[in-house]
C-alpha cells in the first residue's frame, strides 16, 4: 500500500544501525504497518501459533539434547534419567513430546483453513507448495525424534519406515542398508537419526522464513477470497493481527498445558516404555496419531510397491492442489457444493486416521480402501469437475462491503 508510514528511528543507536543494516524498517514494514485484511477470523491465527510451537520445540529439544545419550545401550536409560533425575526433565520432555502433537494439530488446522478458503490459488501457489515442503520436513523430523527414546515402538517404527525404501525396484535393498549403516536398524542408525533430528528443525525454520517471505509478497488471503482493493479493506498488522494471534496462542497453550500436565502419555503408546528388542515385534504396531491417515493409505493397498507409492502420492498430490482445483472462486463461502465436499474430505481424513489405528483385517481393510479411493478422487475428479459445473454465489465487491452489508454478500444466493 502506498500510503503506508515508514520506519523513522528516533534513538541515535537505532539510527546508526539503520544506516548500516535496515533491519528496523524490515521488521516495521513486515510486522507493524503491514496491511492485513480486516475480516480475518481466528482460523488465520494458526500460522503464528505454528511459529511459536517451532520455537518451543527447538528450545526444549536443545535442552533435552544436553541430557540425552544417542547410543543403543544408553538411549532408553538416558530418557528415563531425564524423566527421573534431571531437574524439571519430566516437564521438558513432556512439553517436547506433546509439542510435536500440538505442532501437527496446528499444521493440519492451518492446512484445512487454506483448503476451505482456497488460499492456495493464484498467486499463492508457491506459498502453498512451501507449506507442503514444511509438512514433509515435519513428518521426517517427527519420525526421527520418535526413534530416539529407543523403546519398542521407536525401534519398530524405524524398521518399518526405512523398509518403505526397499520397495524401490533394483536398488531398494542397497538404499535401506545405506540408511541403516548396517544390516539392520542399530547404533549407526540411531546416531544419524539424532544428528538429523537436531539439524532438520533449523531447516524447517529456514523454509518458514521463505514461507513468510512469500506470504508478504502476495499478501494474506481472507474469508471472502477477494483481494483487498482499498485501504478501507485492511488494518495494520500491529495491533490488530498481533493481538488476535496472541489471544488464540494463549488459548491454544491452555490446551497444550492440559495435555502436558494432566494426560502427558495419552497421545503416546505404552509399548515405547519397553526397551527396544530386535527379536520381538510388538503385536500391534501403530505410528503416532498424526501419521495415522497416511499409514491407513499405505496398508489399504495389498501390494507393497503400490502401497508405498500411494503413501507418497497422498502427500505429493497436495503440491498439485493449486492446479487440480479449477474454480476461479477462492472461498468456500461462495461455493455451496465445494463447501459440502470439503467437509466430506475432512471426515474422510479423520476416518482414515481412525482406521490407521485399527488392525489390518476384515472390514477395516475394506473401509480403508474405500476412504483411500475417495481421498484421491477428491483431488483428481471432484475438484477439477466442480470448478467447471458448480454455480457459485455472487462475490461481494470488496472486503469492506462484505462486512458492512453482509446481506448483499455471501448469504444472498
Amino acid at each position: 500500500m502506498s500510503g503506508q508510514p515508514t520506519y523513522q528511528p528516533k534513538n541515535a543507536i537505532m539510527k546508526w544501525i539503520e544506516r548500516r543494516l535496515p533491519i528496523g524498517s524490515l521488521i516495521y514494514s513486515s510486522f507493524v504497518v503491514y496491511p492485513t485484511p480486516r475480516n480475518l477470523n481466528y482460523w488465520w491465527t494458526f500460522g503464528g501459533i505454528l511459529t511459536f510451537l517451532l520455537m518451543v520445540q527447538i528450545v526444549t529439544g536443545i535442552v533435552l539434547a544436553m541430557h540425552y545419550t544417542p547410543h543403543v545401550d544408553h538411549a532408553f536409560n538416558s530418557v528415563e534419567h531425564i524423566m527421573r533425575d534431571v531437574n524439571y526433565g519430566w516437564l521438558l520432555r513432556y512439553v517436547h513430546a506433546n509439542g510435536a502433537s500440538m505442532f501437527f494439530l496446528a499444521a493440519y488446522i492451518h492446512m484445512f483453513r487454506g483448503m476451505y478458503y482456497g488460499s492456495y490459488k493464484e498467486p499463492r501457489e508457491l506459498l502453498w507448495i512451501l507449506g507442503v515442503i514444511l509438512l514433509l520436513l515435519m513428518i521426517v523430523t517427527g519420525f526421527m525424534g520418535y526413534v530416539l527414546p529407543w523403546g519398542q515402538m521407536s525401534f519398530w517404527a524405524a524398521t518399518v519406515i526405512t523398509n518403505l525404501f526397499s520397495a524401490i525396484p533394483g536398488v531398494g535393498d542397497a538404499i535401506v542398508t545405506w540408511l541403516w549403516g548396517g544390516y539392520a536398524v542399530g547404533n549407526p542408525t540411531l546416531n544419524r537419526f539424532y544428528a538429523l533430528h537436531y539439524l532438520l528443525p533449523f531447516v524447517i525454520a529456514g523454509v518458514v522464513g521463505l514461507h513468510i517471505w512469500a506470504l508478504h509478497v502476495v499478501g494474506q488471503n481472507n474469508p471472502t477470497g477477494i483481494e483487498p482493493k482499498s485501504e478501507q479493506d485492511t488494518v495494520p498488522f500491529t495491533p490488530y493481527a498481533t493481538i488476535k494471534d496472541l489471544f488464540l496462542m494463549i488459548v491454544f497453550c491452555i490446551v497444550f498445558a492440559w495435555f502436558v500436565f494432566y494426560m502427558p502419555n495419552y497421545l503416546g503408546h505404552p509399548d515405547n516404555y519397553i526397551p527396544a528388542n530386535p527379536a520381538v515385534t510388538p503385536p500391534h504396531i501403530v505410528p503416532e496419531w498424526y501419521y495415522l491417515p497416511f499409514y491407513a493409505i499405505l496398508r489399504a493397498i495389498p501390494d507393497k510397491l503400490l502401497g508405498v507409492l500411494a503413501l507418497v502420492a497422498s502427500i505429493g498430490i497436495l503440491a498439485l492442489l493449486p492446479w487440480l482445483d479449477t474454480s476461479r472462486v477462492r472461498s468456500a463461502n461462495y461455493r455451496p457444493l465445494y463447501r459440502q465436499f470439503f467437509w466430506i474430505f475432512v471426515l474422510v481424513c479423520i476416518g482414515l486416521g481412525w482406521l490407521g489405528a485399527k488392525p489390518a483385517e476384515g472390514g477395516y481393510v475394506i473401509a480403508a480402501r474405500i476412504l483411500t479411493a475417495y481421498y484421491f478422487i477428491h483431488f483428481l475428479v471432484i475438484l477439477p469437475l466442480l470448478g467447471m459445473f458448480e454455480k457459485t454465489k455472487p462475490l461481494p465487491n470488496s472486503i469492506s462491503e462484505s462486512i458492512l452489508s453482509p446481506a448483499r454478500a455471501g448469504t444472498a444466493s
Binding site: T159, L164, S166, G182, P188, V280, D303, K304, G307
Partner: protein, 181 residues
Amino acid sequence: MTTTSAEPTRRDFLYITTGAVGAIGAAATLVPLIAQMNPDASTVAAGAPVEVDLTPIAPGQIIKVFWRGKPIFISHRTQKEIEAARAVNINTLPDPQADQDRVKKGHDQWLVVIGICTHLGCIPLAHQGDYGGWFCPCHGSQYDTSGRVRKAPAPKNLPLPPYRFLTDNKIIIGESEPGRA
C-alpha cells in the same frame, strides 16, 4: 553479443578446463560424504558367519538366532509339515518356489530362513496363521511351513540366508556351499 571470434581463445580453454576440474572435484567430494553412511568396518566384521548346533532343537520346534543383526528362524519340521509344504501346487503361490529348492538336499527337515517379513521388516510369529507357518502381526502377511508367502501384503517368500551343513547336526550361517555363489 558484441563480438564473436571464430577461434576459441586461450582464455576459453582455461575457463573450460578450470570448470571441468571444479566439477570433478565437487563430484569426488560426494563420494566420502555418501560412502560414510554405508556399514563401517566394525559392522562388517561383526557380520562374520555364525555356527549353530542343531542337536537341541526338537521336531516341530522353531528357534531364532541372530546373524548380522537379523533374526534367523531354524525350523525342525515334522513329516506332516514337510508334506504340507510339498502338497501345494506351486503355480498358485504369489512367489512360486518348490519346497525342495528352499532346503538343503538330504536335510529336508531343516528350514533356515531370514525371519524378517518381506513387507516392511517386522518379525513374523511362528506356528500361527492359516498355513501353520508364520503370521506377521504388523500387516497380516502369512507364510507356510516352507516360509513361502501365502497371503499379501508381503510380496516375496522369507529369504534364505547363505548357509551350509558342517555335519548333520551343525550348520554355519553366512557361508555358502563351496563352489556355489
